[in-house]
Symmetry: none
Subunit: 298 residues, 2 copies
Amino acid sequence: MNNLTLKQMRYFEAVAEHRHFGHAADAVGISQPALSMQIKDLEATLGAQLFERASRQVRLTRLGEDLAPRVRAILRSVDEVADLARSSQQAMSGRVRIGVIPTIAPYLLPSFIGHLTRDHPTLDIHIRETLTPKLITELGDGRIDAAIVALPVSEPSFEEVAIFDEDFVLVRPDEDADRPVPAARDLAKMQLLLLEEGHCFRDQALAFCSMRSALPREGLDGSSLSTLVQLVGAGIGVTLIPQMAVAVETRSANVSVARFDAPCPKRTIGMIWRKTSPLADQFRVIADSVKKAASALP
Amino acid sequence: MNNLTLKQMRYFEAVAEHRHFGHAADAVGISQPALSMQIKDLEATLGAQLFERASRQVRLTRLGEDLAPRVRAILRSVDEVADLARSSQQAMSGRVRIGVIPTIAPYLLPSFIGHLTRDHPTLDIHIRETLTPKLITELGDGRIDAAIVALPVSEPSFEEVAIFDEDFVLVRPDEDADRPVPAARDLAKMQLLLLEEGHCFRDQALAFCSMRSALPREGLDGSSLSTLVQLVGAGIGVTLIPQMAVAVETRSANVSVARFDAPCPKRTIGMIWRKTSPLADQFRVIADSVKKAASALP
DNA sequence: GGTTGTTCATAACCCTGCCTTATCGAACCC
DNA sequence: GGGTTCGATAAGGCAGGGTTATGAACAACC
């Protein structure tokens, strides 16, 4: 029979993901019969079924299940070959997909994207904003090319470079402005408002207060720094936010911002990418650009 | 431009190895112009040259040098996929997940697993022991591949094959051994001990006594046949068990076993799997093996 | 329970793309 | 300078892969 083709593998990946021939066909941009035929050919060349077509349900066979990760790996490798070729040809051009955590994105992105597209007009930047664990998964899967997160990540397959440190500041209701700044351990006794479970900034704030985990307090976890600051403004408690968020978030709330004495809490923001990524050089340039954008912020 | 293809990569690999278009073309079994065209297309899609065509010498560019190992790795991975598919498709090998009901598993499995793994050492059998309704759900969801249960199941999406019939026998306290065997309808008046709600064997025993359902009798439902026999031994009542369980369960209890006159109660044990399952052939072989194992039991 | 809808497979057709052979052109060799 | 080598180019034919239309099986719904 015929040989395997990348086309067939791409189609296979799509069907494996969607478990539905019609949707998979849409996803890869061909008609459903064309996709069905390719899958059929693929199964014929392999000499075994990959999918079990039940009524209204497409299921991977055991072989399909075994093959899926290998096929994905192959396709990612092929993408990398294309990336490598492109980057070798002309630095700082082409599509680059960058993930950013939510406690960084709103404050850093506007100026950073501006700088970068001005300096490198051929660069096509796609931004994905979500929590660190998801970014790490997507980076590993090749669905994004790099990510801007809090270090360390400590994945052996990723390269990580620090970009800048950012201090945490205390946000209190306006009327507390003249009170002394509490020590770290005193924060634990106050009504400290935190982001929802899953945000790395939540864990970083807790670490500063030397708390292993927060007691569950119904309704007092915010889904964004903006929410937290609004709650503080309403007198519900106090919170920590990164320095970078101060200008944007405290503009229109009745809150006062106070810096901590040494040791000032902080975190390191950096960039990560797959060690095998051929775009590494570009990422170093981008990281540098991010650093400039960050230091230009108020 | 066009997409990368495995064909192009194979040609690239050949040229990289031979450093000669004509020889490479012979090696991959096409004409030299065809190969030249494919390489040209490949370079066009990558946007960079891979070879330096000097006079009487083909040399890899820097990029070609970088790409060669990646391309080789990809081609090897693809070969592995094909090999994996081929080897997996040899019958009676690989992982097979089989569900078995609790009133069968302890008696049948030891010898059946032994037979099967001896005859098919590459077969990797996973057993799941639980009640019929759960097995049916898991089979439908693809969490198991087949199940050994009492027939009929009558799910239109499942194939079912009978394996063997097994008679039910009466278990009484030792001192009743000489009494006549009661008729089916008399059992209803005796203290008949049953398995807990949910076991199909409970319903089958009730059906034999022409009872639609048992009155709830606190504390008199057993969680296993073993428990029921122990209760009988303690003089609490009588019970029914499948023939197959006699040897194991009545060995060390003060009970006597009696067979019923015709019509002897019995049930049909069989195997079920999704009609769409590509493993159907394997299941028929396995069912046959189960049948042999069952007839070899005392 | 007939009808409608969903979903994958099949059919018929068409076009693009790949391979073939023939030939060219440049570089090297004598 | 003629012959040789070797990759590029040209022209034509076949087929692989795409399209739309339709079929078949089955679930779901008045």
